[in-house]
């Protein structure tokens, strides 16, 4: 067998029921699926029976990194945690939570590509990995503690350099909306309670080994510098947010927020973010000043620095020091995260703050939320949790469903006053499943709606912003028209796909984007913002590209908040990025030379396997009408496209609601979206009638065994 760079070659398997620890050959078994989600899907397909639920002993957790993780490939520090999701409703289906931080790279240095966790422990344990030495250790002293304390304790046992991925009380208590967290502020949503169900507190890693680069080192260095040269700021925003002498364009919503006069104000001494020229690779980490972007100008004086994942030049995690947090709330003055953590306090639990969304109370509320979420390990589900809470308050359901005693025990006066300590009360209820409110909120939107018998209006309420199956809308028609809708249809949890979004909102004017988009997907792929044209095949190709690249990124791994690099900040390139950058990085690191089409084919294999798993576990091939549903508000709500959360919602223009495909609206048309589905399925080689993969497509992708199994289950389209 050829030896490859990138992969360590070893996959770890830990059975918590039997205590057996074993090793598998990554290359022999999983190379065709790269790593991350790809390997996760393959393991679930091969080993987890159809219909398994998230908390069943038969469910498995695959913590996967990929061949690029741990190297200098920019933004390669991510980990995918694939499992049957307990938040998916009414079917519990395959999905992945993703986290950045430093755990993934450490796993590679320890010599492992994936960790497959199976079975269920009887008592609390954690998995300790020190290079090739792996132990299942007692965690009874950690159980009941938050993530901060658990991480500190494990580091005392394993050494200060250990990277710990742990759950908090929420995961322990089987709160479905819970996370696994590493490196203080990096969490993977939806998977915490699956760890909890297996009595697994943490997986802690210390690695001293190496990830080999197959290519010549000078060639590799040249490529990493080239990749850096075509990257923008966070979300690959490629123009600055303010007018700069060196920049042809600027866009106020850009995350390239650095400028003269804007400081990391709490650095000792303060550091100016300053001018960050695109060519200056030694200032690329200063481009994104996220604290003020997320929390407003007041956050400047609290900012110590920016931070983020291993290998990433784009620092999107704000690190702030807010001294009064100690005295006022009994919390650490130091807080770190990015959106959505550092905007969670202003996303609906409390409707308004004394000095507004960017005032002092609002900033403090975001810090409170960050600590509660990251220490208890609660998943905010892209603010769906807070929007649901907001809904049950304003709809009167909280009052009608809760006992008088429980209702009275909630400090509503704090909510009215905009007192951030209200959040401490609510998040505690959720983490410990206190009372009816705490229990039901943590179940996630799908099960909660069922348990409390929500009216139909809930599902079509733009302020709730739910897409389907318990997960929220995430960069859909309001930003990318039909392409956004098609992207939002596919996954079984929060879609976390940013390929389309990164491109459309990169800050370049529409005509430049259209030129770039035409090269990638054909004419008509890109519309002007909220001035959409009817569906066409280029938009379907744009959607497929977005999804395949997302699968690719979560398997290699690369960050889908930066990649694909379809645009760049360089005028000298006419702002073109490099559509083949992933395949170039992959080829040099592994030595397995694949061009862009060949690597996209691997992504297609991975994506088809995801689809096959969804078909199998829903026990229907009719994806088109049973799975790929689109909420009515996309077609009906006159305000669609005018923002989500209660305070972020913009007032719609007056007069009659605009018709689809007229300037100023993101409304979609039902018949047009059906055409969209046709084109989308056709592009993927899926059956148009059902939206399921055909035998021909599966066999083309080397998934004959999957086709055979689906045929046997009568789930393969005719």
């Amino acid at each position: 067998m050829p030896t490859y760079g990138g992969w360590t070659g070893k996959t770890l398997r830990v059975n918590l029921s039997s205590g057996k620890i074993s090793t598998e050959d990554t290359i022999a078994k999983y190379k065709d699926y790269l790593g991350g989600k790809g390997v996760g899907y393959r393991v679930l397909w091969d080993e987890v029976p159809a219909g398994t639920k998230g908390f069943d002993e038969a469910n498995k957790i695959i913590m996967g990194v990929g061949p690029l993780t741990g190297t200098s490939a920019p933004s390669s520090g991510r980990t995918s945690i694939t499992t049957i999701f307990p938040t998916s409703y009414p079917w519990e289906l395959v999905a992945a939570g993703h986290m950045g931080g430093h755990w993934g790279a450490e796993l590679k240095y320890a010599g492992w590509d994936n960790v497959i966790i199976e079975g269920k422990s009887e008592k609390p344990v954690y998995i300790a990995i020190v290079d090739s030495k792996v132990e299942i250790r007692d965690a009874s002293h950690l159980w009941g503690n938050g993530i901060y304390r658990a991480t500190a304790s494990i580091c005392q046992e394993m050494g200060p350099e250990t990277q710990v991925a742990a759950i908090g009380q929420a995961g322990e208590n089987l709160v479905r909306l819970s996370v696994v967290n590493n490196a203080y502020s990096h969490s993977a949503g939806g998977v915490g309670a699956v760890f909890g169900s297996k009595k697994l507190k943490a997986v802690a890693v210390r690695g001293t080994g190496a990830v080999r680069i197959a290519a010549d080192k000078q060639e590799w260095k040249k490529l990493t510098r080239y990749a850096l040269s075509i990257m923008g700021a966070n979300n690959n925003n490629v123009v600055p947010s303010t007018r700069q002498p060196w920049a042809e364009y600027f866009a106020p919503m850009s995350r390239w927020t650095a400028r003269k006069g804007l400081y990391w104000g709490a650095a000792d001494p303060p550091v100016e973010t300053g001018e960050c020229l695109p060519e200056d690779l030694n200032r690329i980490g200063m481009r994104t000043m996220k604290a003020t972007y997320d929390m407003g100008p007041l956050a400047e004086k609290y900012t110590v620095r920016m931070g983020g994942c291993s290998s990433c030049p784009i620092r999107c995690h704000s690190h702030v020091e807010v001294p009064q947090m100690e005295e006022k709330y009994g919390l650490s003055r130091y807080a770190a995260s990015t959106c959505t953590r550092l905007t969670a306090g202003t996303s609906g639990f409390i409707e308004s703050y004394p000095e507004g969304r960017n005032g002092l109370a609002a900033v403090e509320a975001n810090i409170v939320a960050e600590h509660m979420l990251d220490d208890y390990g609660i998943w905010d589900n892209y603010h769906q949790l807070s929007r649901d809470f907001n809904y049950i308050c304003r709809s009167g359901l909280a009052k009608s469903r809760l006992s008088a005693d429980e209702y009275k025990s909630i400090p509503w006066e704090k909510r009215e006053k905009g007192d951030p300590s209200f959040l401490q009360d609510i998040y505690r209820r959720i983490a410990f499943r206190e009372g009816e409110l705490g229990s039901v909120l943590g179940e996630g939107s799908g099960l909660m709606a069922k348990l409390w018998n929500f009216p139909e209006a809930y599902f079509n309420d733009m302020r709730v912003d739910l897409w389907k199956m318990g997960h929220p809308r995430h960069h859909a028609n309001e930003e990318v028209g039909q392409t956004g809708v098609l992207v939002n249809m596919n996954y079984n949890a929060n879609i976390m796909c940013h390929s389309h979004r990164n491109f459309i909102t990169c800050g370049l004017p529409t005509n430049v984007l259209q030129t770039l988009g035409e090269k990638l997907w054909g004419p008509g792929a890109v519309d002007a913002p909220r001035n959409y044209t009817p569906m066409n095949e280029a938009k379907a190709r744009f959607a497929v590209w977005s999804l395949l690249r997302d699968e690719l990124h979560d398997s290699l791994t690369l960050c889908n908040w930066m990649y694909p690099l379809a645009s760049s900040p360089l005028k000298s390139r006419n702002y073109e990025g490099d559509n083949a950058i992933e395949s170039k990085l992959y080829s040099l690191v592994t030595g397995d030379k694949k061009d862009v089409a060949e690597l996209d084919l691997v992504a297609e294999r991975i994506f088809n396997l995801h689809r096959a798993l969804t078909v199998r576990d829903m026990n229907t091939s009719d994806m088109r009408s049973k799975h790929d549903t689109i909420p009515d508000y996309v077609f009906d709500d006159p305000q669609v496209g005018f923002g989500g959360g209660p305070e972020g919602r913009r007032t719609p223009p007056s007069g009659p609601p605009p018709k689809p495909f007229t300037p100023g609206t993101a409304r979609m048309d039902r018949a047009d979206m059906e055409v969209g589905k046709d084109m989308y399925y056709e592009t993927l080689g899926w059956d148009k009638k059902t939206g399921s993969p055909t035998r021909a497509t599966l066999e083309k992708l080397g998934l004959k065994d999957v086709a055979d199994k689906l045929a046997q289950m009568r789930l393969l389209p005719a």
Binding site: Y109, C155, P160, E161, A183, G209, C309, S310, A336
Partner: protein, 246 residues
Amino acid sequence: MAKGDTVLDRIIEHLDLPSETTRRGFLRVNLRTAAALPVLGALAAGSTKSPLIILDNAEGLVVADTTRCVGCKRCETACTEFNEGRAQPSLARIKVSRNYNFGPRGQQAGMFRGMGEFGNFRVVQDTCKQCPHPVPCATACPHSAIVLEPKTKARMVDQNKCVGCRMCQVACPWEMMTFDESAGKASKCFLCNGAPECVQACTTGALRYVSWRDLSKAIPIRRGAFPVTRDYKSAGCGNCHSIGKL
């Protein structure tokens, strides 16, 4: 270079050697290898046969601004990828990972009151001080395997001479020696021949390559070092310091 400018000039002067020839001769040999040191000893007429253990000061060093470090660790992977062709922070000659979670003083300094990602967010990048004489790692090496890199006079490990005894690791008060477990050899910062990869890779300009200055007296040590000097080497101290001839 004017006479008396460098440490070597001063030594040569002090030893009262026939200056020009010797000085050039010394420098010529020295630039190739620190094995030149016994040569200088031999040149000093009537001196002991013990080697001179003095190394000339380095030309430059990497300095770190802890307020600008954002903890991406790209310096560590650049150090080993572009030198050894593999990503391996444990081998990196700039050290961030070990301070990342809790800072240089570890968890004993507390969590929220300490440093690092779990403390006050200050990430400290440890870099080699390229110490002046007596250079702890080089003095401790029983095989004189720590020599001058010709261009920058950085102290570097001669991989052919290193036998992997780890005495240099014990000797460095800043714990800046690394050990390549797969090769069985020590390694340390050699300033990448004047273009340090870590500096090139730094995403925020927190690392700079500057003219050498003595940081060995300015930066707190990480631990009390274990000064090790072999007898034949300490005898060499006598070339300059003993109550003997000089």
